[in-house]
Structure formats: C-alpha cells, structure tokens
Symmetry: C2
Subunit: 340 residues, 2 copies
C-alpha cells in the first residue's frame, strides 16, 4: 500500500489498463469517461492509494493550490481560531495553507514576495492592517488577496471581518444604558482601520444618546496590555476620570483592569470596563470581561471562501464582508458610582 515511493498516475494507468490521460480524465472530468473505465480506474486508485502529486500538477497548471497566510504575529490571541477557519475551508477545497510570519518586521516584506513567487501560491490572506510588501507592491499588481480581521490600509483589497462600528456601538450602548456618561475610549489610532471604526461606533453611540463628545476622554493606544495600563495612568495623572473605560480590544481592557486593581479599585463597582474581540482569556479575567465577540472561525471560513471564489473567478464577489458582532455581557460593567 504505502510503499517507499508514492504511486504515480502511471502506476494507476498500468493497473487499470488504460492510458494516463484516461486516468487524469477519470479524476477530473469523470463524465467524459465510460462508466466501465471509470470503475477500473477507481479500483486502481484504491489499490495503489494514489494521490496526485501536487507539485507536478501545479507545475503543469501554472498555479498552485497553496494559499499563503501572512500574519505579523502568530501569537495574536485572535490568530489561531481564524487560522483554523481558514485551514478548514481551504482543505475542503483541496488547498493547503502556508504560514508566513512577518514578525511585524517591514523588512521581511520583500522576502515574502519572493517566497510567494517561488511557491506560486494561488492567493494571499493578509492578517495585517497593512500590505507586508514594500511600497512598490501597493501600486503593482498583486495576486488575489483577501484581508481578514483588520482592513488592509493601503490597497483596495477585499476584506472579511466583524462589523467594528456596530460592535463598538453595542458596547457604548450598554455602558450608556447603565447610566454612564463619562465614557473613555482607549486605543485610538490613525493607522489601524479597525480601531478607527470602533471609535466611530463609540462616537455614534454617544451622539445618539445626546452625550457631547469629549476629546479628553479619547486616548491613543496600540492594542497592547501595556497601552491600556499607560492610558489609565494618564487619566490618573490628569485627575480627570471617566466612569467607564471602553477599550479598543481585550488586551487593552486587561491593561486597564490590572491598573485599576493595582490602585485598589473594584470593577465594576468603581469603574466599568469593556473590551473587544472576546479572546479566550476574557472569560477568565476577574471580573470576567464584558466584550464584543469576534466570530473568528467564521471570519476565517468566509475569507478563504471569498479568496477561493476569486481564484475561480466566479465573479469578483463583494469587496467587504462584515460579520455581525455579538455583545458578550459578563461582569465588568455596572452602573456608575452615584457620586465620587
């Protein structure tokens, strides 16, 4: 069965007593082959355990069945589930998933382009807000690509992710409904589209409730735990506190929570905190974090499906697929303290 060298199409042809062309046809265009022949071929395939050599096939076809997934940070808590979604969908269609890990190093961009070329990957999944290849690539013709999780900043690349605006909106709305009016937004950013959208949701919620926007309450952040902690410190230095911290993501919320606890405050008695993403760890924080869930596996699945669609150019499809975010209400939000 599984000998030293895998069976080739010739082995199959010999056993089935047909030509290799017929074997190929029996596999890829069964309707063009006589039923009896097809049977013989299938038997021979079963006997030999034949699997087409993907290299030879790709070489001949001029395109491979591998998708390159480029991510700046494999360790991102959001990455793995999305990858799982991508991988499953790809596999189901006979594609393999190759991992490219840029480590947030712009330098490695070109290297990746080469890598991509050498493998003739059929397409690209970009798990990153910006194109990982040098500037020239932006204008240049890019292979079929789809962004996931975060819209791609510098290019008209189709994108699959959660509806950030709506998600953020749900979070502020909850806070407002609990009675908060001084709600901080932590994690503003000029370069990260997803964060900008979340801020839009925040502002929309405020506006809808007739709460005037207070710029003092909006602080920058890059989505790290540290950035949350830092932002919190700024508030305390200013001595101008909100009653709730709406954070751009769970990591930031974690940083804020840690800082708050370190100063002896209780969540949600003294301050309310919300996150975004619902990373696995959110439910285990103390208190467990109220946040917005990203349908990660679904995002991966849809993104890969979209890419695969593009490859078989069944129409260019949508340019942006926004999945519905769900608010996950846990224990980090409560009414504001009556008076401080």
């Amino acid at each position: 069965m599984s000998n030293s060298t895998p069976a080739t199409i010739e082995d199959v042809a010999r056993i089935a007593e047909v030509s290799i062309a017929t074997v190929s046809r029996a596999i890829h265009m069964p309707e063009k082959v006589a039923k009896s022949t097809r049977l013989k071929v299938n038997q021979a395939i079963a006997i030999t355990g034949y699997t087409a050599n993907a290299m030879a096939r790709s070489l001949r076809l001029g395109r491979s069945n591998m998708i390159l997934v480029v991510a700046p940070d494999i360790g991102d808590p959001n990455f793995s589930s999305i990858l799982a979604g991508l991988e499953n969908e790809a596999r189901a269609h006979g594609y393999g998933v190759l991992i490219g890990h840029t480590q947030n190093d712009a330098q490695r961009g070109l290297e990746y382009l080469k890598f991509f070329n050498s493998y003739q990957a059929a397409g690209l999944i970009l798990f990153t807000g910006i194109l990982p290849f040098g500037h020239q690539a932006a204008t240049d013709s890019l292979p079929p690509s789809v962004g996931v999780f975060e819209p791609v900043f510098n290019g008209g690349i189709p994108y699959v992710g959660v509806d950030d605006v709506e998600g953020a909106r749900k979070a502020v709305d909850l806070l407002i409904s609990e009675g908060h009016r001084r709600i901080a937004f932590i994690g503003d950013s000029n370069t990260r589209l997803a964060y900008r959208r979340r801020r839009s949701g925040y502002e929309a919620g405020l506006a809808a409730a007739g709460i005037p926007l207070n710029r003092q309450l909006i602080l920058d952040g890059d989505g790290t735990v540290e950035s949350g902690r830092l932002a919190l410190e700024q508030f305390f230095m200013r001595d101008d506190l909100p009653t709730a911290f709406m954070c751009v993501n769970d990591q930031t919320a974690l940083g804020v929570s840690i800082g708050l606890k370190a100063r002896g405050y209780d969540i949600p008695d003294h301050f309310s905190v919300t996150g975004f993403d619902d990373v696995p760890q959110a439910s285990f924080m103390t208190p467990s974090l109220t946040t917005v869930r990203q349908p990660r596996t679904a995002i991966g699945k849809h993104a890969m499906a979209l890419l695969l669609d593009m490859l078989s150019d069944r129409a260019a499809s949508e340019t942006e697929i926004l999945l519905r975010p769900d608010l996950v209400v846990r224990n980090s939000v409560g009414p504001p303290p009556a008076r401080r």
Copy 2:
C-alpha cells in the same frame, strides 16, 4: 520587474547570455562557475527578479521544501509560539511551513497522509502526543518526523520539548519548601506522556522530601480548564483536602483557581496552586500563577533544526532534546495555613 508571469530560469539565461544549466549552477554550485559568468548571472537575476519555481524544483528533486506541521488544536495557547519558532527556523533554511489541523479528530488521519503524500512534504512536525495517521502508519515507514511539545506515544520519533520531570520537580520542591506536605497532583493521564513525566517529577520530589505518596491526592485530568474544576469538586466532595494543588498545566490550574475562588477561598492564603507551561495568560490571572515556563520558541527552533538535520542526513542526531524548564515564581504559592 514584477510582470504578470514571474521570470523563469530561461529569462535569466537569455539576459546573461548563458545556458540555463549555467544559471542553475551559478545558483547552486557557484564555485563551479567562472567568476565573470557568475557575475553576469547574478545581474540577470537582479534584473528579472528571478526566484526559482519551487514546484518545478521540487518535482525535479523528488522532494519538496515544505514541512507539514500537524497539530490537533491550533488554538492551544502553546501552539503559536512554537509555530513561530518552527517557522523562523524553516524559513531561514529555505523551507516553508504548511499547517495541518486535525481538530483532535482521529478520522482525519488518513486524509492527512494523503495530503502529505500529495505535497511530498519533506518532513513532519507532530504537535501531538499520538500519531495522527491510522494504526497502520505506526508500523509503516514514516517520513522524517519530529515530535514537539509532547512526546509521540506510538512511535520511536525524535522529540524536542521541555524536561517535564525536572520542571515538575521544581514545582513540587517549591511547594515543599513552603511547608506543604499534602500536595495534590491534578492531571494524571495514561495516554499523555508529558503528563506522566510531570507526575514522575512530582513523585520524585515527594520521595526526596520523605513524604509518602498518597494516591488519594492524584487525580486524573486531560489538561482542560474544566478538568481542573472537576478535580477540585472531587476533593470537596470527599472532604479530604490538600493544602496545595500542583496542576499538570496552566489550564488545569486555571480551573482549580476558578473553583477555589467560587467557593470563597483565597489563593495563596488558603491554598497554593501551581501550573505548568506558563501560557501568556498565566501572568494575568489573579493571583498571577506560579508555573513552569516552556521555552516555546526555542522548542520550535530546535525541533525544526533537528528535522532539517535529519533531512540532509547529517547523522540521525539525538533522539530526544530536552530543554531546561524555568520555574516562574509569582503569587499563587504561599505557606499552608497553620491549621484548618
């Protein structure tokens, strides 16, 4: 530069005014090519932006430069850093990393063998305690493979991981030095080699301190948060409590901590808890978890290096590389309460 179709070796040859054989040689055995020729070739490569077509190369060579990483669960908090280590090392040697995700589904085993065959992957990294392929594969000849993170149960496959025995030993020793004598071990398992080893370390530590082994204190578990919670419940039902819970991994420790907190106990005032792995979340738990650190990136790096060594059969190398575990002392361990 980057046209619609990538440059081939022929394009380079034409521009350099040499034959394609010379181009190939200039790339792979530069010393066999005249200096002046080499120069011309390199220039032509630069001009065309040529990158060898990996498919064609692999097809010709009969082996690919892709490594298949098989993992039961991409979401394992240990997975991403190990993957990063694997990926970097592979990339550095011109190999790509392909992800295979079994979802803990034994059924998918065969499917993976096929996948593997079709890609003619050069080797396998197994992030799983058991061979993912059907039983027959065990006896059958397997491609060059290396296990990471957890020794492979049913096959003499080289393994790179942390020294579980020593790691566990460090954890018990700490507990003992704090004065604990009734130390539970949570997460025993017959099928998971890593867990068995950790238990050995636990027993060795007890023995060294002259503490008799109490079987009642050893509970099974599969390393999930739930298993930790469950084990804890058993103790409370029996009303036969230890003063410290040494958990087989951080997830289990998390389950135990949650259970303890839910019952109103304080860690480490009432009970001490230790984990194993030092997953990212361990430092953010309340209290932060004392645990044993896995050098994950290093494990990935070494495993890939070992596999690559095997591929270029520079000797079969060691059969097991055990990295040194470090004890990370945080806040979940203290002396046992004087009397309960």
